[in-house]
């Protein structure tokens, strides 16, 4: 039997024998495998993305499937996104009221709610809710098609599965996330006003006028449209994880879970980068 130590040392043919010993140390070896696995995953994701882009920009275009996915991803996600947006509006209004009253700045409450919702809470909540709903839905659907050979059957019928399955889903995610974000923003503001007016009656127009005083389109649109990037991340990862699944029902479960976890994680990482970019380009 070849142990890990001699295998690693022999495989790498290292000039320094002690380096081989270090690399054979189980935690080091596990880290190395993790890094290799991560790089391999990224490489495969990049190839997948290239195939989808190439399929999406060359005819025939699958418009019917795109419209079906716009409905599936957009209108069917609307209730849950609106509910999440509304809940965030209530929470922000309660928290902001509590904090601002302590500092004697209660008059800033509408502006605090408006900016908190449209700048960050609306987009990120939409991104995370969509990661959960769409990541699991797309990942599980495509994984199920993969393990039952339906994707092979599509290919065997001389139809490009990247064009028929992946491209419409990813494009629909990109197009619908900003619109869902605007809906979440609206619900957040509406519920923020309801919460405010229950404590201290104020008209909706007054609340909005006070909140948006001094705001420009640069405050509203870039945060909403950054979610197009979230849509790309969610659609791409969910399609990728679904279409590379192996191993029956267990594989389908794994694909759904990994789609949600990875897309949520990458949405948060992307948000960090995008917030900084928005602050630079739309000061």
């Amino acid at each position: 039997m070849i142990d890990g130590k001699s295998e690693t040392a022999a495989g790498l043919d290292l000039p320094l024998p002690w380096l081989g010993t270090i690399l054979a140390f189980p935690p080091v070896r596990a880290s190395k495998n993790l890094i290799y696995g991560f790089l391999e995953w990224f490489g495969e994701l990049a190839i997948f993305f290239w195939r989808v882009v190439r399929a999406a920009v060359t005819p025939p275009f699958e418009f019917r499937e795109l419209f079906r996915q716009l409905d599936e991803i957009g209108s069917k996600s609307l209730p849950v996104v609106a509910l999440a947006g509304g809940a965030i509006g209530v929470v922000l209004s309660l928290e902001a009221r509590h904090s601002l009253t302590r500092f004697g700045a209660k008059s800033l409450l509408p502006a605090a709610v408006v900016f908190a919702v449209i700048d960050e809470s609306g987009p990120i909540i939409t991104g995370l809710v969509a990661s959960g709903r769409l990541g699991a839905g797309i990942g599980a659907e495509l994984a199920s098609m993969k393990v039952t050979e339906q994707i092979d059957a599509i290919e065997a019928s001389a139809v490009n599965p990247y064009r028929l399955l992946a491209a419409p889903r990813i494009l629909a995610c990109i197009l619908m996330l900003p619109l869902l974000t605007l809906a979440a923003d609206f619900c957040g503001l509406a519920m923020g006003w309801v919460t405010q007016t229950l404590a201290e009656p104020v008209t909706f127009s007054r609340f909005i006028n006070d909140g948006f005083r001094g705001a420009t389109f640069n405050d509203l649109l870039p945060p909403a449209f950054k979610t197009a990037v979230f849509g790309l991340i969610i659609g791409l990862i969910a399609c990728f994880q679904g279409m590379r699944t192996r191993g029956g029902a267990e594989g389908v479960g794994r694909a759904a879970t990994s789609s949600v976890v990875l897309s949520s994680l990458f949405v948060i990482v992307a948000d960090v980068v995008l917030v900084k970019l928005i602050l630079i380009f739309f000061p």
Binding site: P60, E155, A158
Partner: protein, 262 residues
């Protein structure tokens, strides 16, 4: 040992009719992480001919079929379809070749969100865009009638039996009028009567459409019924090739063992 070496393999050459064979595989190798599945397979199938591929589970029969239609790529060797090597073709370039092939999957692989009618119409919708909806429906009815499934038009795949799913899968495979038909375990998991019906159906379709067919099967009775020529895979190679009678009279130990247990 009787091997295919005795059979003249000339993948790039022409058949008796002066045309290249419908399918010609030459020195095909395919391995997965720990297993060498195909180890130098060469064979040809001409138009109108049916070849049955036999072998134990995991002997690479289905892999062979998937390589022929380009769903898997060989490590080395050539896959000639009507004289054109498809082994190195990209996904979009494979489209033209695949339109000449029909593939029946082991578990039918019907699209579970579509009705029987929509399943059979799927290839037509994507490749016969000039067809009107009524023409397409007429063609789907014709295909379903051919496999005896015209009454299941509106049913979902989950509402019909395994044998019926295979019939619908066959109808879908025939939709683009292929000249090569690939069947992966057409009778697996079916009761003897349904299996016999599928065999009769495949025979009828071959007579009517005069296609080149490759049938992967465990079922020796089915292979004998529908194929004129059989090959037996063992250890990634073709152990024996010939008519059923030739296999029966073989003195190769693995062949005798395989026939004894089939």
């Amino acid at each position: 040992m009787q091997t295919l070496d005795r059979v003249a393999i000339n993948p790039g050459g022409t058949g008796q009719d002066g045309n290249p064979p419908a399918v010609a595989l030459a020195d095909l190798h395919k391995s997965f992480v720990t297993q060498n599945v195909l180890n130098g397979i060469s064979l040809t199938v001409s138009r109108g001919e049916t070849l049955a591929v036999l072998g134990r589970s995991g002997s690479g029969k289905s892999v062979l079929l998937k390589i022929v239609i380009g769903l898997q790529k060989p490590d080395s060797g050539s896959v000639l379809i009507h004289g054109r090597d498809i082994a190195g073709l990209a996904l979009d370039q494979l489209g033209d070749v695949r339109m000449k092939m029909g593939f029946l999957f082991q578990h039918a692989a019907l699209y579970d969100s579509l009705t029987v009618e929509q399943n059979v119409a799927f290839p037509l919708q994507h490749h016969k865009r000039e067809m009107s909806a009524s023409e397409r429906r007429g063609r789907v009815l014709e295909l379903l009638a051919e496999v005896g499934m015209e009454r299941a038009l509106e049913k979902m795949p989950s509402d019909i039996s395994g044998g019926m799913q295979k019939r619908v899968g066959l109808a879908r495979a025939l939709a683009l009028e292929p000249d090569i038909l690939l069947l992966d375990e057409p009778t697996a998991g079916l009761d003897p009567i349904s299996a016999s019906e599928i065999d009769d159906l495949v025979l009828k379709l071959q007579e009517e459409h005069h296609m080149a067919s490759i049938v992967v099967t465990h079922d020796l009775h089915s292979a004998k019924t529908i194929a004129g020529r059989l090959i037996l895979l063992h250890d990634g190679k073709i152990e024996i090739e010939g008519a059923f009678e030739e296999l029966q009279h073989s003195d190769v130990e693995f062949v005798r063992e395989f026939l004894k247990h089939s």
